[in-house]
């Protein structure tokens, strides 16, 4: 396994481990909440990066898989008293299964048509869930406080959610790295650069795309289940919020499209900026408009992202900035 000799990857893992351990060492709930938000953004962006960054398919409504996983996990915990961990894994599997079935159909569409189809799927699922009484309809579902008792109370359940998300994040980064440095990843990137040429060169693009889509839906499903377990309630508006999808895209764009490090850098910068905007009383009301301005600046002037810019500017760094 020559690929695991890359020092950059181990540095990244060590860095992430440092961030993960910080709230555990200080036992500070505040640091934990901050890290949780960061990890959620990072996990969503890094998974989306597989289909969007590596393969070049703009899954605009990708948050649908977060919602599907969230609802599946929540339902299993709520109705059948499952433990959170198996419920979250099943949430991920259901999301991945949905992606597999949908993907074999909609991945035939290219460019903007694919983007619109994913928005349509997100809206269709959201509208459908609003009409299903067993999922709580448009008001959603709530946990009883008793749900958290097997975990040793709500406080411990919050810590458990944090550990699970942190562990999942490490796995996501590992998968993202393996995919990028594998033959499968090279196939995906060749589809991104020129799908017709890739097909002619013998890449089974339909199969590659479907697996990339499935993989990039699996992790958001688990993240959704963990998030809504911690949240204690779930409703269609929160689970299928298109804005969160776009935030993940912004993180990828900000950090660098199609790189392992990109989403990490993007998520850290984005989370800091968002914190600044939300804390400042003057900017708080305007934070939506300000994120619009920030997004426009990124799109217009640094469309390759921070990591991409460094790679272009300093070719020496290409070996290290994976």
């Amino acid at each position: 396994m020559a690929r695991f000799r890359s020092p950059s990857f181990w540095l990244l893992m060590a860095f992430m481990l440092g961030i993960i351990l910080w709230p555990i060492v200080t036992r500070s709930p505040y640091a934990r909440e901050q890290a949780f938000v960061l990890f959620m953004y990072l996990a969503l962006a890094s998974s989306l990066n597989i289909i969007l960054g590596y393969t070049g398919y703009v899954s605009f409504g990708h948050i649908v898989f977060f919602g599907i996983g969230g609802y599946t996990g929540f339902y299993l915990i709520h109705r059948y008293n499952w433990h959170m961990i198996p419920a979250a894994i099943v949430g991920g599997i259901v999301a991945a299964l949905m992606a597999f079935l949908l993907g074999s159909a909609i991945l035939r569409l290219r460019g903007a048509y694919f983007a619109i189809a994913t928005i349509g799927i997100n809206e269709a699922v959201k509208a459908l869930v609003r009409n299903l009484p067993f999922l709580g309809g448009s008001t959603g579902m709530y946990f009883d406080f008793k749900v958290y008792e097997p975990y040793g109370g709500p406080g411990n359940a919050l810590w458990l959610s944090y550990y699970c998300l942190a562990f999942l994040l490490l796995i996501i980064l590992l998968v993202s790295y393996i995919v990028r440095s594998s033959k499968f990843g090279l196939g995906l990137m060749s589809i991104r650069e020129d799908e017709d040429a890739a097909t002619i060169l013998g890449i089974d693009s339909a199969r590659y795309k479907t697996w990339a889509f499935t993989l990039s839906a699996f992790f958001p499903g688990i993240v959704g289940a963990i998030f809504f377990f911690k949240n204690g309630n779930i409703e269609p508006g929160d689970a299928f919020r298109l804005f969160l999808s776009i935030e993940s895209i912004v993180i990828i764009m900000l950090g660098g499209f199609g790189t392992v490090l990109g989403p990490v850098v993007g998520a850290i910068v984005y989370e800091r900026l968002r914190g600044l905007l939300l804390v400042n009383p003057l900017l708080k009301n305007l934070h939506l408009a300000m994120s619009g301005v920030a997004l426009l600046i990124i799109v217009l002037f640094i469309s390759v992202g921070i990591v991409g810019f460094l790679r272009q500017r300093f070719p020496v760094l290409r070996r290290y900035l994976i």
């Binding site: 569409l109 619109i116 269709a124 009409n131 009301n285 994120s291």
Partner: protein, 283 residues
């Protein structure tokens, strides 16, 4: 039966207005292959310009439409130069995000300025009775204005020099440039035109339903469905798509709860994209 017929007529009237909104989206896609994700907020701005100019400034709602028209054209041209021009030939993701950033700015400023309290425009017009059911006359007036605007757009596109250059740029930008057309001006103007249609449609919707600054997104998503029905980039198809969607909404609302309508609409969107991505009218 009477109820079914009345809701079909009602749906048809709404369909013209939806179709007008979708025409704006379709026109912009047809000319420059950009999906305008700021379409919804522009529809909402149309609603508010009719509300403030028509009701607060006393121009009457229908009179305010004229101002919404110019305001829309101007807003579109500004948006084109600020957000779209530089990334016109970039991948779709870039233009999607660029127009979405405009969406965020308008919604962000709009929620601060207008808040999210629902507004409504009260127009005193008699109802038209159709058998057992009566339909407010505002529906018919709105449909009439929508048709008038659509006809105006066609006269413009086929009858004037500028309109012809818009069509030329849509067909082949490089060739149009070689024929001496200033494509940058035409592109900016087309974006303005698309935004203008969104604003007029928004203004007309405001005379029918209560609204907030966030209401536009509902009609933006409907516009997607309509454009896909009628074929993206084909404004006439958009009008037909709007009528189909309106009839569908009116027809189904007699049999199933209204909350199921969006499920059907979006399922239809995905289905048509898969089966006939060029739209029902496309080849």
């Amino acid at each position: 039966m009477g109820v079914f017929f009345a809701s079909l007529v009602d749906g048809l009237m709404l369909g013209f207005v939806y179709g007008l909104a979708a025409m704006g989206l379709s026109l912009i896609w047809g000319v420059m292959h950009v999906i305008n994700l700021a379409h919804g907020p522009f529809i909402a701005l149309g609603m508010f310009s009719v509300y403030y100019l028509g009701v607060k400034a006393g121009l009457t709602p229908y009179g305010a439409l004229i101002f919404a028209l110019f305001f829309g054209l101007l807003a579109g041209i500004v948006t084109y130069f600020v957000a779209v021009h530089r990334v016109l030939d970039a991948p779709h993701l870039t233009t999607l995000l660029a127009t979405f950033s405009v969406n965020l700015m308008i919604i962000g400023l709009g929620t601060v300025i207008f808040t999210t309290t629902p507004r409504a425009i009260d127009i005193k017009l008699p109802s038209v009775s159709l058998g057992a059911v009566s339909i407010p006359a505002t529906r018919f007036v709105a449909a009439f204005f929508a048709l008038l605007s659509a006809a105006g757009l066609y006269l413009f596109l086929y009858g004037t020099k500028l309109g012809k250059s818009v069509r030329a740029v849509a067909m082949n930008r490089a060739a149009a440039e070689l024929m001496g057309i200033n494509t940058v001006q035409v592109l900016a103007f087309s974006f303005g035109l698309g935004t203008m249609l969104a604003m007029i449609a928004g203004g007309l919707i405001a005379t029918l339903f209560p609204f907030t600054i966030l209401s536009g997104s509902v009609y933006e998503l409907k516009s997607f469905v309509i454009c896909v029905l009628g074929g993206l980039g084909n404004p006439a198809g958009a009008l037909v798509g709007g009528i189909i969607l309106g009839l569908l909404e009116g027809g189904t609302s007699a049999f199933i709860p209204v909350s199921w309508v969006p499920v059907i609409e979006f399922a239809l969107l995905v289905l048509i994209l898969l089966v006939k991505p060029k739209g029902l009218l496309g080849g």
